[in-house]
């Protein structure tokens, strides 16, 4: 009963939220919405046990691709966003050939290197990527109206509703994947890859699948970002941004679906509201770094472990009844 009421209530809060905020806070809300998608997709990748340092660059691939499709070929923006996501996923498939010959630390460094190569290519090739200055005047979402509601997407509130809807759908899809036999297979690949392989799981294919799907959603996040801010450059997707994503995931915890999202929301609120308002502008990276170290040292299972303590249950992975989608057992 409570669960039934919780979702509409949450939706109501999220719809009402921007109206109580200042303009700059509304803008931050848009970025937060997009970042939630990026960090949630990152978790899908970590389900198979691999940690990438290239995720933000993949997000950038989606941003560049979508911006270029709409700029150069005049593709309708919503379609170019989807194409951008598909492009990011395809690049991930290509990258998976070299990267999944590596594991653990080598995968981490390999993903970092391939991300840097992509960024350098954007820098080097002025045509079509615009060089170090990147792409400017990226077309925004076309305005439209539904009945009495007009959506002008240069306004943060309208774009927030649009991005929020897209991200909500994506989160639902990611959730469905995780709570399905597909998600169970990802877990199996993570915990005991040899046993999983003995059960007939093609490890390489499944790692690639997780990487590809995660990259597609990251790419969509990048496209959402590009068409909102209107200008992107190679430094929009540098290692520092990756560190933010990593921090969100680690501070939130990657044991649950909501952990990274929680980390992203809490840290963004803390970062933007508390630190900015209190005038710690310059010290923010320093504080971020300290939080990252502190949470690794003192809260290794992330904020989610606190939530689990509060709610009083520990569930790292979906139970079988949830996997089947009904209570068929017992």
């Amino acid at each position: 009963m409570l669960r039934l009421a919780a979702w509409p209530l949450l939706a109501l809060v999220l719809v009402a939220l921007p109206h109580g905020l200042s303009f700059s806070q509304q803008e931050i809300l848009v970025f937060l919405t997009i970042n939630v998608l990026v960090v949630a997709s990152y978790r899908l990748l970590t389900l198979t046990g691999e940690w990438s340092l290239g995720h933000v660059v993949i997000m950038g691939v989606g941003a560049y691709a979508s911006a270029l499709y709409s700029k150069k070929f005049g593709v309708w923006v919503p379609a170019s966003m989807l194409l951008g996501a598909v492009t990011a996923a395809l690049i991930a498939v290509l990258l998976s050939f070299p990267l999944f010959r590596m594991k653990g630390f080598y995968f981490l460094i390999g993903s970092f290197a391939s991300g840097e190569i992509i960024r350098l290519l954007w820098k080097r090739f002025r045509d079509p990527f615009g060089g170090p200055k990147g792409l400017k005047l990226i077309e925004g979402m076309p305005d439209f109206s539904i009945g009495i509601w007009d959506f002008q997407f240069f306004e943060p509130v309208s774009y927030y509703y649009f991005a929020g809807t897209v991200v909500a759908i994506c989160l639902w899809i990611l959730w469905r994947i995780e709570r399905s036999p597909v998600g169970l297979t990802f877990h199996a690949v993570h915990w005991q890859d040899r046993l999983a392989e003995a059960c007939g799981v093609n490890l390489r294919a499944w790692r690639t699948l997780a990487f590809t799907v995660a990259s597609g959603f990251a790419g969509l996040g990048g496209a959402l970002l590009a068409h909102y801010i209107g200008t992107i450059n190679p430094n929009s997707f540098d290692i520092e941004k990756m560190v933010f994503v990593l921090t969100w995931a680690i501070v939130g915890g990657t044991g649950t679906f909501y952990g990274p999202i929680l980390g992203c929301v809490v840290l963004t609120v803390f970062n933007e509201i508390v630190l900015r308002e209190m005038g710690f502008e310059q010290m923010r990276p320093l504080i971020y770094g300290a939080i990252l170290i502190g949470s690794i040292l003192f809260l290794p299972n992330g904020l989610e472990s606190l939530v689990q303590k509060l709610v009083g249950r520990r569930r790292r992975v979906p139970g079988p009844a949830e996997i089947v989608g009904e209570s068929a057992v017992k």
Binding site: P98, I109, G110, I250, R284, I296
Partner: protein, 289 residues
């Protein structure tokens, strides 16, 4: 053409010398503690800023400023070991992530203390050795090359000929067996971290007058160091030195004949290639993987 080649070769030797200092320190830390120090580029930066603070701003003699950089950055290394890497010893990924956090702290601290603009550092010497009209080696670069060779030889002597060095190598190969032999892991970790960090610091201090000193300078340093330690074989000190020379040659020549960005792409691609073909590197085998 010969002269261009000779000049490029000289540039490469100079680049190799400070890259080797950074990379060897990184490998030493990885070998003994099993953790990749992402903040290594920022330790390099910290060394450079020590020179800014003492030599450029307060007229302390350059050589003393470099010595101060060594001590200061070595101290940072000890601090990192004690507060981060020791508690996270059983968690290599945690150690790596913590070092990323430390990287951000050092970067922000530099930006707050000195501003984000590039620093101006007066040259140590204007002297130039002229081999011919077009082949010249600034004296300041020669100092870096000589210092790097001396330091690397001293490290080699330390590791191969002293008791401490033996303990260090023993715990790099097998920490548990080393502990059974009465070698304190904390002790070897402290020594490795001090030396590794101090080498990055001294490299940053020595090259400070010759490069652009700014809070973000560590990024290209760490990328280069990663390439070098992967190509050299993670865990191999000799491999790191050889790979530094090889990388500096390739990078300098590509920069001279094409451009710097292409050179970076070539370097990273080489590293990816090595990772694909032989993850343990071209020269050595990994002690820890």
């Amino acid at each position: 053409m010969i002269e261009l080649l000779a000049q490029t070769g000289l540039n490469a030797v100079y680049a190799a010398s400070y890259i080797a200092l950074v990379a060897v320190g990184l490998v030493l830390i990885f070998g003994v503690m099993g953790v990749i120090n992402f903040a290594h580029g920022e330790l390099f930066m910290a060394g450079a800023y020590t020179v800014v603070a003492l030599y450029a701003s307060r007229d302390v003699p350059f050589i003393l400023a470099v010595a101060a950089g060594l001590v200061f950055v070595g101290g940072l290394g000890l601090f990192m070991e004690r507060t981060m890497f020791r508690p996270l010893r059983d968690n290599p990924l945690g150690g790596l992530v913590a070092s990323i956090g430390f990287l951000m702290i050092l970067q922000a601290a530099a930006a707050m203390g000195f501003g984000v603009r590039k620093e101006h550092i007066p040259p140590v010497t204007q002297q130039v050795i002229e081999f011919s009209e077009k082949v010249r080696l600034p004296m300041a670069r020669l100092y870096v090359i000589v210092a790097a060779i001396v330091i690397l030889l001293a490290l080699w002597y330390f590791l191969k000929r002293t008791r401490f060095g033996w303990a260090l190598r023993a715990s790099a190969q097998d920490p548990e067996a080393a502990e059974l032999q009465g070698i304190s892991i904390n002790q070897t970790a402290r020594i490795a971290m001090f030396i590794g960090a101090a080498m990055a610091g001294i490299a940053g201090a020595l090259t400070a007058p010759l490069v652009s000193v700014n809070p973000h300078m560590g990024h290209s340093v760490i990328v280069t160091a990663f390439i070098v330690i992967i190509v050299g074989g993670v865990g191999s000190l000799e491999g790191a030195v050889l790979a530094s020379i090889a990388y500096a040659l390739v990078h300098t020549f590509v920069t001279t004949f094409w451009d710097g960005v292409i050179a970076d792409i070539v370097g990273l691609s080489l590293m990816l290639l090595v990772l694909i073909v032989r993850p343990t590197g071209l020269f050595g085998s990994a002690d820890r993987a």
